[in-house]
Symmetry: D3
Subunit: 303 residues, 6 copies
């Protein structure tokens, strides 16, 4: 073989230098995260996979296998649920360990806590499916372009957003940290609909088109409500504590009672109540309560 | 080997119970779909793959293989088109069988109908490419930040949305159910632009930025129009039949004549006509006709 | 074996015809691109892979491997950076050759130019990480729903958009064509936030929710600014040259000084300056300067 | 864009010519196969996948998932068996259609026949596992280097060959064409052990090392036999019919009674019987019966 | 975030040390290879992929797609051949550059030489298919267990070995270095049949079972020959030059004339000629010529 | 949606029954393995991946990446070694837990033991590379058909077998259970060469062709030995203890001193010594010592 030459080319010192700087505590400490007990970080990839499995469990035939046989459905569903249970336990555990960092305290036994949360989540799946079937019905009935509830399941962003939200909200209620937000952001990335996992949303909910919808953490939405694209249910202002930092967790988003409709681009801010059956027109800016069955709209367009 | 212990742990009964409930007709019937003749459901994955193949067929070099040789292009294009034809036939068939369910009737021979639709679609590809090349030109000419039409093909959401729309619209015209909506929702998820497959859009169309644009099913758009982000071409209200259900399929969205420009955030609702060469300003709310070459804008900003 | 029958079925002539038409210069020339020196086109897939590697290099543990060991981090980081360097060089080269087409001129030696640009980019990574750590801090401090800066890194669209932007902007400053736009469009597709690579954005920048935000090419944003969903920093009008074509590259977007907040849906157009500490209310339409610390909001909502 | 040049380079005519010649009936007819009813050919890839699933079903933990939980094993096993059943039915059907070609006759309804064969095969799985567990025990007891039966399952070519053989033999007995041979050849490729699916092999069978072992179609092997590498159980000569073609299917390979041992490289040819408990020495060439408990070995080595 | 601790654990110095030693010229120089012009090494993965494509081109339906349509076969074959041509050119180029190292000379223009070799190889494909169809026929006629020539194509190691050999031999005749050996070793790994690419093998060749067959570089085999497992066509001794090194390339392996049969385990050594129609018995050791139609067998077995 | 029918088809009861029987302790207990501490089983897939990484670490450019840059080799090697270290630790741990089952005892702390073994293995890599470089040189010098040592690394089964063996032997010496056998069986499956991990093999070892070679657990081979295909270094007989079970671990295989050559098909059995420089002819059957420099061959062939 040829004598080989190990002269280093010019670019190496620069790469070496970049490595050194990126591994230096001055740079690394700003982005480094120590999970409790050296646990792995939550995995975006694994959560995405769990969501795919859940979609197949809730809507068989639409997601996952395209040809589901009713006879052997229970075989595959059982295997799928068991996998979901174990993978979800693992991610919940990572979620607990991720946030544990801030507590500067000895960790409680997280493993059984995670398994319990995952089991409680599995228990809730039939109810989650029932709610989503209602959401599909609402989409079909609310959109003149819809041909069937099945079409809504297949291709309506509202359904996809609610699939993620109803799952994330269940985990949120179980006190699971971080993971619900990661799930809701997956829906946001896919649909442009940003629902905080904390929002409490009633049956037969439909968002038409959906892009740009924002529903804040402490929002409460009744039965059979409908939003159009670009609607914001937001906070009016943020309370700060005496040291100037934001006070977190205070109810600060709107309450929509049953049968409320909000048209495209409307902005509803603060802990206000929109009365049952009210209709809020497009592009409205609302910061105070709206009475029962009111129809609020802006002045005549100037065209 | 060790004697093994088949005592079941506590979580199993709960998983068993969840399986049982999710397979119970009470739960399953709300989401179960029987396609005609036991056909498989349309496959999101397969349609996504078909769209990738179509992108490579229409814009060789930009999508698919990054190094295309002009000499052997016809080899690969032919193989690609044949695959597209067979895969598209299959998905069209599944689309027919999916919606067939509602008709409670004996199915006509769907297989040859599907193949014919797929062939007619293939026939339309050169025209689809011609229209998309015009859309790329419009993007380049309409955006001062664009460096070349090629850049528009590579990275403009407008082009990606129109690639999906012109394909979905062709299938829509061929009477293919469900599949066009699935395709348009793929574009919506990717770009935030929601164009119903039924919309009839003329040559050299450009949407700058695009996020939040909504173009309804019965919209008609002339040549050389331009929309900005957040523009809605929507319906003003929905007609209901005497039994209270929505009447579907009625013309209810705007008509834009040639050379119309609509700036960001404007909302155009109902079967109105925006005259040739008109310019609609940002955030406008329009529910009646706009004359030829009109320039509609809101009062002075209050800043 | 059976005698085989090579009679062609009816569909073949139609496929043949489609192939012929799609390969005909009349059709192909409208979409065909000749990169200089027969180079391959930039590859969306490869750039996506580079972006994943960069995310793992900048935020170890959050992206890429979920269990990073501090001790051997430098091993993997070094290998990763070297791969990034070589892949980035290749894509930069393709970018140069892609745009070279327009120049109708002899190409300068692109290979070493590309490597130099890639090395300069690698040099900038520690600074890019520092800026992004600041953006994570801003997100945590600015959103009452945020539980930790780590949560922001994991699941805030603002962080994802800025990860792409700060990388794309660095390449933009290095004069790399096309690639920065492809990167920024990846962020746009994922977040609904459309930031042109040319925009100059200061430290600790945060966009809440983000869907529909548009930040134009020549925008300048100071330190510690905050935008909400649907905010546009756009151009008021486009200058045309005497031959009617757009003049490209002129400063035409707003300047935001330090500590500016712009609420949801506001539209800021033209080369105006928003003074330090100013607050622009939701849905405002601004086309002229806003003074220091001003609070601009629309009239009372009409609810 | 640049004017593009569609002059074809020199290599194209040669590729065109090769395509033409390879598609010409003169060339194609020699390798073309028409399955009955236009069915797809059996798929090597799919059969390989079925074999992986079967290995996981028979030896849980060793193959497939490395961490199997006893509690939920039945979930995954049921899902796995259902998949195996459907995939196996499909391949059996393809096997029937593949060989049907030779019969120049109208096909009986193959679909239900295939499903029945697949179900009968599933029925046989517990017995196949029992036999393979016996083979693992025999390997452990027969090889002084073996540390446990588990080690034999993990890494003994004898076990891998028997896993394939006992499956292929079951399909062979069910009259399934082609597929059993494809399965046995997979084992041959992996282990160098070539057992025809027709061979009838008793319990607790072990082949040490195994490379080069050949066991012919009509061989019969009793309980507790052991072969070493390079042993052939072959035919002495082939009977030809009056037209000179081979007569197929006649018993022509050896019978080994219980407890027979054959050492490395021995060749046993023809329909001979090796009596119970006999031991055949290495490199022996045997063409006639061997009595009960005989010990046959070659003369002293000439070293 | 927690203060992080960058104390290195004990294992790092040992890994560091191993890296240092493995990168030290003392260790690296023994395995380092400099291809000419810094070319990449031949890629086992890419060659494997080329072989799969070739199998699909030669035996459509058996390998690659399992459902080939006669009508559109030419589309896919053309695309496949073009890919094979370009990938093969690349690997041939790497082969030239790989061996170029030994020549300590300025390289001739390898690129066009590689393309020419690849084109010549493509030209030979119809003849290669013709020969392989003959090999399949020979397998079917020679094995009483074979049910059809198609079965031989699907699952006979003889066919797989000859598929690789006839391809490797063509490249060998074209003077391509290294690649033919890599291809023949792929067949060897899969079948246990080791044929040197240089061996010249006539039509309708069949090896039954095949494991352990060795056919040396300068072997010449006539039409219609048949070998059984474990047959060696080897060299008797190696000539050494005056400096003690082996003289390479001298004819040193047997010549088999037409219609020769060699039974299992026979060893034929040296440049001897086995006359037309001769039959060599199992386990024979042959080092001199065998006359026309001779039947050579060992003495009666001693059983 | 259609009313759905959950009548079960006939095949379900049979699948249910098969599941029940395969999960019944009577069937399951024969193949069930309980690793200590509920650890996962060793993973064939993971070990295969480790072997690929090791091949790339030892022979850069031949395996793994085909274009290795000398300058940044250390980056990738370091990352690769760290991954190998962690994956190897995990598999070693699983190996310990796998065999622990037989000991009916409390496990020592396996985790640190596994890491130590993995580190010791990493330490040995430079020496393993040195030995393999010698094996490549021996292949090149010993085969007149070899063109370069590089060719031997690329495509000689001898090198592939020794790559696996020298790694497996190192782990064997470190007392790692099961894993070494799994590695050696991978080589056996690929090459037909079956070397027990316990065999002690000197420098510059070469096996030409190799198929069918068997080298037993307690074999000892000196420097510069050469074997041909089908050579067996085996045990003559197995000692049994008073209870009839095999006594394991006793030296029972041949010792080859330096410079020994054994031609194809020779069988060497028992704890005999083949003296330095001896040559054993093809197909010989040797069960007693062979003196220094002896040349043992069978009588003249009977041709």
């Amino acid at each position: 073989m040829k004598k080989f030459d190990d002269t280093l080319p010019a670019e190496l010192p620069r790469l070496d230098k970049a490595v050194k700087r990126l591994c230096h505590p001055d740079s690394l400490s700003a982005v480094w995260h120590n999970s409790a007990e050296g646990a792995a970080m939550p995995s975006i990839e694994d959560i995405r996979e769990i969501m795919s499995s859940l979609a197949a469990a809730i809507f068989p035939g639409y997601f996952g296998q395209t040809q589901v046989r009713l006879d052997s459905l229970r075989y595959h569903l059982a295997a799928n649920l068991d996998s979901i249970y174990h993978k979800m336990s693992e991610q919940i555990l990572r979620g607990f360990c991720f946030t544990c960092e801030k507590q500067h305290a000895v960790c409680p036994p997280r493993d059984s806590q995670s398994k319990n949360a995952a089991l409680a989540f599995i228990d809730a799946l039939p109810e989650i499916r029932r709610l989503l079937a209602g959401d599909a019905k609402a989409a079909y009935e609310g959109d003149p372009a819809a041909q069937s509830p099945g079409e809504a399941i297949f291709c309506y962003p509202s359904l996809r957003a609610m699939l993620h939200h109803r799952i994330a909200h269940e985990l949120y209620k179980l006190g699971v940290p971080v993971i619900p937000r990661m799930i809701s952001e997956m829906a946001h990335a896919h649909t442009g609909i940003d629902i905080h996992p904390g929002a409490d949303i009633g049956e037969e909910f439909f968002m038409d088109h959906g892009t740009g919808v924002v529903i804040g953490e402490t929002s409460i939405i009744g039965r059979n409500c409908r939003l159009y694209q670009g609607v914001t249910l937001g906070a009016l202002s943020f309370l700060k504590s005496s040291d100037g930092s934001l006070i977190k967790g205070i109810p600060r988003h709107p309450i929509l009672e049953d049968n409320v409709t909000v048209y495209a681009g409307a902005t509803l801010l603060g802990r206000i109540t929109i009365g049952r059956g009210a209709v809020v027109g497009g592009n409205m800016w609302i910061t105070s309560d709206v009475p029962l069955n009111a129809r609020i709209s802006q002045e005549q367009p100037r065209a």
